[in-house]
Symmetry: C2
Subunit: 395 residues, 2 copies
């Protein structure tokens, strides 16, 4: 297959995403997910006429009078009471149920208390400081619409309204599989290194609201095949390493043996040229290069957008424009995605000293994009950037 | 105490934050935290001369010749080998250690293999496709600076360089305490409601990179005092409910009995007027109103910035300007923070139907700020907003 242009590769990745499934989950497990259906209120919200202030529940006809003080109604008070009669007032707390017969709640600051009685102001507005039962949402009506994101406030509203389950596009199940015989948890022999791509990719996905687990597999076709076979139910598998043309690069062959359909292999970009995409049923399989910068770019640019789309979330990262704080070299024949740090309006390019270097670029919070054959740019040029990290993703 | 202006309240909150402590943690536990000290490389990075391509490790004098093929060197290969001699080449994989005597790695595409020998190109650049040992960072040198955020790439670099522990400003320990006798996990009696503020605040903090746990306590001074006494070692306690002037509002009195120093109580804002701040040693105690919108605003505006400052993180949320998609009413005497949804350049105000309503505003991703006495604004007016959610916080 010839090299795909990066935009065509992204389009193919997004097109390969299956329509999201729908799950019914308790609200507590839905934060950050998108509602698949309208959420209907199982009961009125509020469930009773609710006092909005600390004060007295009163009748309108008692405005300007001194009335008898009955027992206090606290928030959470469930006692049955006779209807409030003329000449009476219940002390009432914010959030408490307004008793039958009461027509307003008068704030405590507008009253004076003496000799076991309370004097009410001259003017009392009907329903003042009372939220009527069902005013926020009536039972059976939608209180949240399909397509809404479950924000912390949505979560609180769901708990407040008594919703047991929300119909959402569930969080994708993702497994990051790092391949490489050189990987060791505790390197002792020369040539061995710790797996750093796995933790990096899991952390990157987490910042984008996607939980992932990880595995490590040797450069061994049999072990890799067995690993992938055990992951059949997972929405996406993100492999790193083993996708180049080397004799130990087992990924393409194993994917064929697995019965996965290769969608593309190799993209006209640096880093990340060997990127591979395959599909097995609903499952997406990404083959990311083992080079950590390449794996990082491919995760930001291809993996995360596809997984966010699978969850029904916005998949276009935030970006902006800023002023180069240092010159950029010209570019050769492939689109170049270059890590940079954006601070205020300044954009500092953070080129790695080698293709596997994370030390220079590790404070990057954005990527710059240099088109093939782009001329060098002096400091002070305005450039566009795309954000990395939690603040890349719309809320 | 008289009402504080919101900006003065924020200044007092930030001033009340103690200098951050320093902890030494494994890199895996440091994501999103700020380095308190330079991180020094315990060994050279890379730890050996590393091949950057799949190809042949060769001597420069063999350019243009056909040479004998020795055994292959894979990534992770730790075998001891004699130095490469003239007329020889080792097949070598990306990431593998370059053997002694080799002066360059020639990419496999630039060679032809026949009869057990390999023909090398006419021109071979010295050190081509070799990253020298220590080129990214030499042993003992700082590979990351104090003040850096531990990004996913920083995490990978730390694991790659073999760092066992990073000196960071640790994640604040925060407990959200919801007070209210009306709260029940499974409401059955009239007047009871589920705790929704606790889960909302924990979720809000989580979106800002701060992990919190939660407790529920009845409106009972003894129980609340015991709860707060048990939380002595915690960096911050976020109480909701019980901060107004009602007879059941136990928080101010309990804080006094606890020995906490009240810093302020009541801010000239809506919602959230009863906001209270106290300190006990290093511990910050926030008294948030029980009204969920007020608790939300106070968490976004005061609690999260202070906790981010405690962790050494940037505490100014992202904001921007957009065009009102609907008219805004004029404001009365207190600064009004109004939930809104920003989408593209459009800003849709989401006013609640009552002060406790979450249904109308639950899709808010920003707050608008209306100054005291501000005139009404027609649709189409440009307004400033401050972001809510994960994308509010700089990476």
């Amino acid at each position: 297959m010839s090299l795909l242009e990066p935009d065509e590769a992204l389009a193919q990745v997004l097109a390969a995403v299956s329509p999201p499934t729908v799950a019914r989950l308790p609200p507590e497990r839905c934060r950050g997910l998108v509602l698949a259906e309208d959420a209907l209120a199982p009961a009125d919200l509020p469930p009773f006429d609710r006092a909005m202030m600390d004060g007295y529940a009163v009748r309108l006809a008692d405005a300007g009078r001194s009335v008898a003080i009955l027992d206090e109604i606290a928030a959470g008070d469930g006692a049955a009471r006779p209807a409030l009669q003329p000449g009476q007032a219940h002390p009432i707390m914010t959030g408490a149920p307004v008793p039958a017969g009461a027509e307003a709640v008068v704030p405590v600051e507008q009253t004076t208390r003496a000799d076991g009685r309370v004097s009410l102001p001259e003017r009392i507005r009907a329903r003042a400081n009372i939220v009527s039962r069902g005013a926020e949402c009536a039972a059976g009506r939608p209180w949240a619409r399909a397509g809404a994101i479950v924000t912390p406030m949505t979560l609180a509203a769901a708990l407040g309204v008594g919703t047991r389950e929300l119909a959402v596009f569930p969080r994708p199940q993702v497994v990051v599989v790092t391949t490489g015989s050189e990987l060791a948890e505790d390197p002792t022999r020369p040539g061995q290194i710790r797996d750093s791509n796995g933790p990096m990719l899991v952390a990157l996905l987490e910042e984008a609201g996607i939980a992932a687990t990880r595995r490590t597999v040797a450069d061994d076709a049999g072990a890799l095949l067995a690993c992938l076979q055990s992951l059949e139910g997972v929405d996406a598998v993100v492999l790193t390493g083993g996708v180049s043309a080397g004799t130990h690069d087992e990924v393409p062959g194993v994917l064929t043996r697995l019965g996965a359909v290769a969608l593309f292999h190799k993209v006209a970009q640096r880093p990340g040229k060997p990127l591979l995409l395959a599909r097995r049923g609903r499952q997406l399989l990404f083959g990311l290069p083992g080079n950590p910068l390449a794996a990082h770019l491919c995760a930001c640019r291809y993996v995360i957008p596809s997984l966010r789309r699978l969850a029904g979330l916005d998949h276009v990262p935030h970006g902006g424009h800023g002023t180069l704080a240092a010159a950029l070299p010209g570019n050769s024949e492939r689109t170049w995605f270059l890590p940079a740090r954006v601070q205020g309006g300044a954009v500092m390019p953070l080129p790695p000293v080698s293709s596997a270097d994370l030390v220079q670029p590790h404070q990057a919070n954005a990527y710059l994009r240099l088109e093939p054959g782009a001329a060098s740019l002096p400091a002070g040029t305005e450039v566009a950037y795309t954000r990395i990290g939690a603040d890349a993703w719309p809320s």
